[in-house]
């Protein structure tokens, strides 16, 4: 049984708010020391979340000290980092797993030492016996579902044919990439479309381009490409330019594009009309929620639900709304 099914999950800002406003909150007294076992700093999300967690911790009513370790994508080092943090006697262990299964042993050690743990962004694998006490992450399935759904709606409004979609996925070993694929499949099912081909981009624009170029030849009538992250969008743009299919909405050569993350290139392409929908990767909301839960976790509060953050969908029509702009973190 999946962890989501077993424990249920909370999504959307209001639901998160409900958890945060729970009357059964037991407040921790004094300073809370949180040990962070991070995968590294090589990725924009990793480095930004580290920065934002520090900012929210500094602004918190409770004094929160974050003790940071980075494993440089080394699974063994992350386990060692987690052990060091446990030995140091932190109040909460915050893990951003490199390997969803391997991290389970660190979670168990923390529990044996009486230290609650929080998984951040990447869940401890559903099959693992020892789960973190709470998971704070992004609703990855919703991200792709909402983005693709927005594009299908737009295609309907334009009278464009909805049939096949090319899916430029992330890393085949990455749970977030897989969930985004599930979200796209759900959107396709809703609108009677099919995924023509899964093109693995490995979150790398060069690999995305190498995979997309031949697929465009194989499916010359494709009119919708869904991309797992804006990080691969520069590769997609190059291939579409080379294929003569890079045109803004309204042009007969326009290729409908849905994507996720709302990175600077996504904003630029939304404004130019080349990108039709982009669901934000709400790192800000995730970090804020994680910091709010830290004192409660340290005080012994238990959580029945995962906390999954759902960000809004950016479109060419709303991209410059002040309300939407306030949610940006990657610019």
């Amino acid at each position: 049984m999946s962890r989501l099914t077993r424990r249920g999950f909370i999504a959307t800002g209001s639901a998160v708010g409900a958890v945060l406003a729970s009357p059964t909150i037991v407040r921790a007294q004094g300073k809370v020391t949180v040990g962070m076992a991070w995968p590294g700093m090589q990725d924009a999300v990793w480095s930004t979340s580290h920065k934002l967690l520090n900012e929210f911790a500094a602004a918190s009513d409770t004094e929160i000290e974050l003790v940071f370790t980075a494993a440089d994508m080394d699974v063994a080092k992350q386990a060692s980092d987690a052990n060091d943090l446990i030995s140091r006697g932190v109040d909460v262990l915050l893990v951003f797993p490199i390997d969803s299964k391997a991290i389970s042993s660190s979670v168990k050690r923390a529990r044996d030492a009486g230290i609650p743990s929080m998984a951040f962004l990447r869940q401890v694998h559903a099959d693992a016996r020892d789960q973190a006490d709470v998971f704070v992450g992004i609703d990855a399935k919703y991200q792709q579902l909402s983005s693709a759904r927005t594009v299908f709606e737009k295609m309907n409004a334009d009278g464009a044919e909805i049939s096949e979609v090319l899916w430029v996925s992330g890393d085949i070993r990455d749970e977030n990439s897989r969930l985004r694929g599930v979200g796209l499949q759900e959107a396709c099912d809703e609108y009677g479309a099919t995924i023509a081909q899964d093109l693995v981009g490995n979150w790398d624009p060069q690999q995305a381009a190498a995979a997309l170029a031949p697929a465009l030849k194989a499916y010359p009538n494709i009119n919708h490409i869904s991309v797992a992250s804006d990080v691969m969008m520069s590769g997609v743009r190059q291939v579409l330019q080379d294929a003569g299919k890079w045109a803004p909405h309204g042009d007969e050569n326009h290729m409908y594009l849905s994507s996720v993350d709302v990175f600077p290139i996504g904003l630029e392409l939304l404004r130019s009309g080349h990108l039709d929908a982009d669901t934000i990767f709400d790192v800000t909301g995730m970090c804020r929620t994680a910091v709010e839960l830290m004192p409660r976790l340290a005080a012994g509060e238990t959580f029945d639900s995962d906390v999954l953050i759902q960000g809004p969908v950016f479109t060419p029509a709303n991209v410059d709304d002040p309300e939407m702009q306030a949610q940006l973190w990657a610019t």
Partner: protein, 318 residues
């Protein structure tokens, strides 16, 4: 009869991967209408460009019997220099990136040739260190290149083929000329065959190796610069995993992991093309993405196995 079998075996060992490349092209052409088209081969050329320019320099190092696993990180560092100079003219960015590649290549070469450090372990460590340096400057985020460089990256020659591919091709041809047409190339082959003997006959082993690493650093920097120009941005994925793909392409192209044998042209070019064509061809047929790693991995295994057979033959003759 036995003689013919031996001849056929030697022919297969020497040219097997060229035949395989030809066979794969024929098969994909037969099963996919879109494979043998100008636009598809333009895409193959683009996809080959970045790996080709990096693998060309690595070929020279491998021929010396050494290795450089830091090429992907050098590419990232060079791309980072492009970002740091993005408000300057494109030529300044390019020169700065190439000089950075040269400096890193010289440093790697100095460690290996003059300090006698193990090239595998040294460059493995430096691969992590160089990437770390680049991450400090990029903060792990996507950075834009200057408009001038992005414009250069979009220049097309002969109607459709991006100019960046011709840059990579020029590097291949220049390196092949150095390898086969100059004394330095002869030194490299001699060092790779037997370093001690080369030293005894007066080959300046340390300087020759230093030169190979310097050229390798430049070619890796070219790869990073071309990728930044093509995409118009620098991501943390620049050059990631490139070293292993490059080693695979070089070995598939006939260079020996033990040194003393190999060519940049047509060897490494064919090795790169083989990897890219398989990826492209499977893509045009809509094959599952899980198949490519299996096919590419099998091919790399086969190349290394054949390399071991060839070296066993050489050892038994000597």
């Amino acid at each position: 009869m036995r003689e013919r079998l031996v001849q056929a075996r030697n022919l297969g060992l020497a040219y097997g991967f060229y035949f395989l490349l030809l066979a794969i092209v024929i098969v994909f052409t037969a099963i996919s209408n879109s494979f043998l088209t100008v636009s598809n081969w333009t895409q193959i050329a683009i996809a080959s460009t970045f790996l080709l320019s990096a693998a060309a320099g690595l070929t020279l190092v491998l021929i010396n019997g050494e290795i450089d696993l830091s090429i992907g990180s050098i590419a990232y560092v060079a791309a980072t220099v492009v970002f740091l100079t993005s408000d300057m003219p494109a030529t300044v960015s390019i020169v700065a990136a190439l000089l950075t590649g040269l400096a890193i290549g010289l440093f790697n070469g100095w460690l290996v040739a003059y300090l006698g450090m193990n090239s595998l372990l040294t460059t493995l460590g430096l691969m992590i260190a160089y990437r770390g340096v680049a991450l400090v400057f990029t903060e792990g985020t996507v950075k834009q290149t200057g408009e001038g460089l992005a414009l250069l990256g979009s220049v097309k020659l002969l109607g459709t083929i991006p100019a960046i591919f011709f840059v990579a091709l020029a590097i291949v041809l220049i390196f092949q000329w150095i390898l086969r047409g100059t004394r330095l190339g002869t030194y490299w082959l001699a060092i790779g065959n037997n370093e001690e003997s080369a030293r005894k006959i007066g080959v300046p082993v340390r300087r020759a190796k230093l030169a190979a690493y310097a050229l390798c650093g430049i070619s890796a920097a070219v790869s990073g610069t071309l990728l930044a120009a093509y995409l118009g941005e620098i991501t943390t994925f620049t050059g990631r995993g490139m070293e292993f793909q490059a080693v695979a392409a070089v070995v598939i192209g006939g260079a020996s992991l033990f040194g003393g044998r190999g060519n940049v042209f047509p060897g490494t070019l064919a090795g790169v093309l083989l990897l890219i064509v398989i990826n492209n061809g499977l893509g045009t047929r809509g094959v599952s993405p899980f198949v490519y790693p299996f096919v590419a991995g099998s091919l790399i295994f086969l190349a290394i196995y054949l390399d071991a057979i060839k070296n066993r033959d050489v050892r038994s003759v000597s």
